[in-house]
Subunit: 420 residues, 2 copies
């Protein structure tokens, strides 16, 4: 069996091997890729844990609305990442917030249950150094993150309990403005940035040692997070506005500020954020109906769930035929990544492909294709040292900074002065 230890041979060492054992260029690239600890900072895979009969140890497919499982993680050389406790934005009412809290705590428990169920192949990670330790055992690395802090309701201190459960990265907002601040995709600009509770939330992230994540936040929120955070922030799954002008992407000036303050942008593979797609309300409505039918999945029998997924897959195919929509390619994805790398360098760029949350491009449909990013970056001349940073070094540096800043409210910012 392949083990990490045997693969630590560098390209140079491999090149020095006798010709009879010389690997093919592709094998060589894959060997380099597998020698790296590869983390994706935004995995929405926990959304699948409640699917009846769904087992992360079984191979699924993107056609099944699934992009991450153990077999494909191994195939793609994905060692793990941040598994998201994602909660859809609901009404800003006591009932809405309570329902979100229930859902988020159940989702947090579901991540721990998945790891407990598959303890031979997955392990929970909490500290930066856990990544290498777990990878050395050839297990997959499960950090936990929050996408949308709406479940905190009006009690920001509940973030402490999520930290206790293992959360080490959190974003305040999702598609719509909420009690913490403004969303990138909501034109209301309710708070002109973070709300007062949002500022408390940010201070508490710093106090606890949680990496603040500005993906999905408005530009104002981004600015206030960079300025207000005592440690570097992350964009766990975002793109470059210079490549495609979309509110979910970040402009060059802000990306430079992010880098100047020690932060990192992890490139998203969600097609509609990567390239221009014309507005198509009919398609959107029909797609909403298809996905709506999958919402009750967790209450179905395994057989019914399988049937519902097959029907949804067929409906999506029919939809693509009826309302064709341009779809981003792997090269479009790499255009965002290479732009970011050119702008801020390999110390400030990584991968957050939004698997199981909307990610996926033609040529990179799921995490089994992760190695292609490495291949393309090697072709661009990036070194193994660069690749180490891009695939996990950067996010672990940011996590270490959060950890170092923990409960030292009076300490100076870790890097660069926070942009104030």
């Amino acid at each position: 069996m392949f083990t990490r230890r045997t693969m630590l041979a560098t390209g140079a060492a491999l090149a020095a091997m006798p010709a009879v054992a010389k690997p093919s260029p592709l094998d060589h690239i894959k060997a380099i890729h597998r020698s790296l600890v590869c983390l994706d900072t935004h995995l929405d895979t926990p959304a699948n844990f409640a699917r009846p009969g769904w087992d992360i140890m079984q191979r699924h497919s993107a056609a099944d609305f699934s992009q991450v499982d153990y077999p494909r993680m191994v195939e793609g050389g994905l060692d793990g990442g941040f598994f998201a406790i994602y909660t859809p934005q609901g009404p800003l009412t006591p009932d809405g917030m309570m329902a979100a809290r229930d859902a988020a705590l159940l989702r947090a428990a579901a991540i721990r249950e998945m790891v407990a169920r598959n303890a031979a192949h997955f392990e929970l990670a909490f500290k930066p150094q856990d990544a290498a330790r777990i990878a050395a055992k050839n297990k997959r690395i499960v950090y936990q993150s929050i996408e949308n802090s709406y479940p905190l309701g009006t009690d920001v201190t509940l973030l402490r309990s999520f930290y206790a459960l293992g959360v080490r990265m959190a974003g305040p907002i999702h598609f719509k403005d909420n009690q913490l601040g403004d969303s990138a995709t909501d034109k209301s600009r309710t708070w002109k940035g973070l709300s007062p509770m949002g500022h408390d939330w940010l201070a508490l992230c710093n106090e606890l040692g949680i990496v603040p994540d500005a993906s999905h936040s408005s530009d104002d929120v981004f600015d206030q997070m960079v300025a207000g955070s005592k440690t570097p922030i992350i964009l766990s799954h975002s793109g470059c506005r210079a490549v495609h002008d979309h509110p979910r992407n970040i402009d060059d000036a802000r990306m430079k500020t992010l880098a100047d303050t020690g932060g990192v942008i992890q490139i998203n593979s969600l097609s509609a954020y990567l390239i221009a797609t014309p507005d198509n309300p009919e398609r959107e409505k029909a797609q909403g109906a298809i996905y709506g039918k999958l919402r009750g999945l967790s209450d179905m029998s395994p057989a019914d769930a399988k049937k519902a997924l097959a029907e949804a897959g067929a409906a999506m195919k029919a939809l693509d035929a009826k309302y064709p929509e341009p779809r981003a390619t792997f090269e479009d994805y790499m255009a965002h990544m290479l732009h970011a790398l050119k702008l801020v360098g390999p110390e400030h760029v990584g991968v957050g492909a939004d698997w199981d949350g909307g990610g996926g491009v033609t040529g990179m449909e799921d995490c089994a294709s992760n190695w292609k990013i490495t291949a393309r970056l090697i072709k661009e001349g990036f070194s193994e040292d660069d690749l180490k940073k891009i695939w996990s070094g950067n996010v672990l540096r940011v996590l270490q900074a959060a950890e170092d800043g923990r409960a030292k409210p009076a300490a100076p910012p870790v890097s660069g002065g926070g942009g104030e």
Copy 2:
């Protein structure tokens, strides 16, 4: 392998078998015992889940400070019960309450992780009918309960999230008065019963379908819970004050009220509540020091934890030699149970032995001895039908009533008018 199906033979059927196959009286009793679904309503076993190297699938011993594991559950014919999310009472400060919330949510997750880790042998239960369904698969039944609702802090609505995580029984209070009401073992009588938040808590238990548990509550709280609850309440681990006058036990009049309103008392096996033990502050202090050393167990290596447990075991032996203390016997335990059965009948009595929480008497040191209760009750002339009620029928009836009363705030009390 033994299966439940084959053991459904009744005593009468066994007696009718040809003499060659006639089982011994003890085998006969054990066969009856195993044919029952046996639930204990107060298992503190989750406290052991965080012990390094501790595995519920391995056999431990009472000398190891462990009374419940899978092998002993099978041996004792214990099918499962209510696994407690127990939180020690801490200071009634924001910090104290937040720390308790973290601990309780982690404990809740730990219960689910244990089941996920051992899914072939344990299964989570939520509804009354889950017990029989899970037992039929020869798996152990894991209901969840809360012992001490202190972790709710000042936000009673957090109980909703615990319900979402699976909690179906909850007690408001532990050793000391807290924000919800007065403790049986605290002389302060801070609230003269339930606090205003305690009344809200009770109403929310009813709304959600959580069985209110008055063990550890003061008499005033008991009275207010019986009067205020729309569905029957439980004493998940208590004894009879008529047998031994201790505040953790209940007097006959209240036990009758409990029964009249459809509730149930589950008999505790904690020695100091069963018989008179003289005050011995030196012993108590020394014992506190021994248990104090075990508090850091979860942060130790497996080897250090094993050593610490062995040392604590030896220290307890030395303590027993230095300060001998009377210890209750199995007959003392049965004296409480038989008194309750005589007073309120087999529809209102069950078993909540407080395993891993202080339970255990000479002759019944852990759950492997559970069958002895059945043997003793058969000797007293109780029928299999009575045993079915005592071992799970009663608590499942109370759980069913809570479920039936769920979200019907205007409905009349299920049984007897609530004692008002």
